[in-house]
């Protein structure tokens, strides 16, 4: 999966979790929580969907690394390649 494909995959997950939100103006370097109505249960949904769709386990200690879209990509890219 290329970095751009990974980006689309992550945005797809977030769009499914927050179907009422518009992601057109999302700043990839700003915290997701500050830009869209993402609560702690939604965040757990992201972790669950990464597990279900891509077999990636994100341990709780790594949750801060999923704070922005770009940090998600940085964190997930090597892990998905490994899989």
């Amino acid at each position: 999966m290329t970095r751009d494909e990974l980006k689309q995959a992550i945005l797809g997950i977030i769009q499914d979790i927050l179907p009422d939100e518009n992601f057109a103006t999302l700043n990839p370097d700003a915290k997701l929580r500050d830009q869209i109505g993402l609560d702690s249960m939604d965040f757990l949904d992201i972790v669950m969907e990464l597990r279900k769709r891509y077999g990636v386990e994100v341990p709780e200690t790594d949750y801060p690394q999923l704070a922005t879209l770009n940090s998600c990509l940085d964190y997930l890219e090597p892990r998905l390649k490994k899989g």
Binding site: P19, D20, M41, M48, R51
Partner: protein, 414 residues
């Protein structure tokens, strides 16, 4: 005569029925013989029949709410918002800590648990795929709690588990809390999401009590000799209830006044009804309303389309409503929509409320050959009937493990 602060009235009605998304639409279907039963397929069980609602949940919820919440919550939110609207409450000005939400449920959590188990079955039953939403979805207060989240209500909310007698229980609870002064506005009623549980269909099937018919509209046929069981339905109804003094002060339109109620237990069997206890419950409600049986003009029966249940209820009704009750008419709503479980009592009562104005009794449909054991006098069959007097309506609702509930409303008279 009770003081206005001690009289409780219904000032708004919201509902989701399989054959109508509003009281007006539901009533029209009941008067024109329109069924809400359709073919329905559910996992494991396969093809069956059900009463399915078609209201638009996005009228009052966002798509994320639907993803996180439950069907019962969605039905409750729709009905509660419709009721608030119907009551013409100035919602922004209503003191939210003084609003209570009281909803009857037959069960809750069954649907959500079945769904989670199905989901993890795709992952070899590995529980790390079990949703973190499982607990907030399955707590017993969920449907009422979702209403408070949606409407910003900060007063009390809870559900009342009462099997198929639960719809009346929600209203009775609202009545009591208003009388106690615990709240100023009660959103009271009942909801059912039961058609999403394969286990409920399978349970009735194993019991030999699930209706089958080539024509879905003819499957639910209480009192008919060819009945063969229950059609399961989803749905809900919520009333706005207030003390009469408050309703008059804000110039509300009064739909009906709560006249009386009773709840009792059979203490005899898990499943089989007890005609004597049912009769005692009906008689007790009438006495507590300060009425006599002859003063009841319409009885909306519980009858579900099982032979034993229908006959037992008719025996109870005969015991209470003797030859002197010439103005008492009987009907049944399940013949149109199936059995809406926790919503049944309040939803069926709602469909009859307009009769206080138009004096028309909607029929029970699908009676081609009336079971002689169910031949009640003034049982309104297949076509609506005009009643000479219609000042009072009594609703019966009975449930498993032997719970009976009866609610009586009357036309408001100053």
């Amino acid at each position: 005569m009770r003081k206005p602060s001690e009289r409780i009235v219904i000032t708004g009605v919201g509902l989701a029925a399989p054959n109508g998304d509003s009281l007006a639409a539901f009533r029209a279907s009941l008067l024109h013989g329109v069924s809400g039963v359709e073919r329905y397929t559910i996992r494991y069980f396969g093809e069956t029949l059900a009463g399915v609602c078609h209201f638009d949940p996005l009228r009052y919820q966002k798509r994320k709410d639907l993803r996180c919440g439950t069907r019962a919550g969605s039905i409750a939110i729709y009905a509660a918002n419709e009721a608030v609207r119907d009551a013409r409450l100035d919602w922004a000005a209503v003191a939210k800590p003084r609003v209570g939400v009281y909803l009857g449920i037959t069960e809750h959590g069954t649907v959500e648990t079945e769904h989670e188990i199905y989901e993890i079955s795709k992952y070899n039953y590995d529980i790390k795929y079990w949703s973190h939403y499982h607990n907030p979805r399955t707590v017993a207060n969920n449907p009422a709690g979702e209403v408070t989240l949606n409407l910003g209500i900060t007063g009390p909310h809870y559900t009342l588990g009462g099997a198929c007698a639960a719809g009346n229980l929600g209203c009775i609870q609202g009545y009591q809390q208003l009388l106690l002064g615990e709240v100023d506005v009660a959103l009271a009623g009942g909801v059912s999401e039961s058609i999403q549980s394969f286990g409920i269909f399978a349970g009735f099937k194993s019991q030999g009590a699930l209706a089958e018919h080539a024509d879905p509209a003819k499957a639910s046929r209480p009192f008919d000799l060819k009945r063969n069981g229950i059609v399961i339905a989803e749905g809900g109804a919520v009333f706005v209830m207030e003390r009469l003094s408050d309703a008059l002060a804000r110039g509300a339109t009064i739909v009906a006044e709560i006249a009386g109620y009773a709840v009792n237990s059979d203490a005899t069997d898990f499943v089989l009804p007890n005609s004597e206890r049912q009769g005692e419950c009906i008689a007790s409600a009438i006495a507590r309303a300060g009425l006599e049986p002859k003063d009841i003009h319409l009885v909306n029966t519980h009858a579900t389309g099982t032979r034993m249940g229908d006959i037992q209820e008719c025996q109870a009704l005969r015991r209470v409503f003797g030859p002197g009750c010439r103005d008492t008419y009987f009907n049944n709503t399940k013949s149109f929509i199936g059995h809406a479980m926790g919503a049944a009592g309040v939803l069926e009562l709602a469909g009859n409320l307009p009769a206080l104005q138009d004096r028309v009794v909607h029929p029970t449909i699908n009676v081609d050959e009336l079971d002689p054991e169910c031949a009640l006098p003034n049982l309104v069959l297949n076509q609506p009937a005009a009643a000479p007097r219609l000042d009072t309506i009594l609703n019966t609702s009975f449930g498993m493990v032997g719970i009976n509930s009866v609610l009586i409303v009357k036309r408001y008279q100053p």
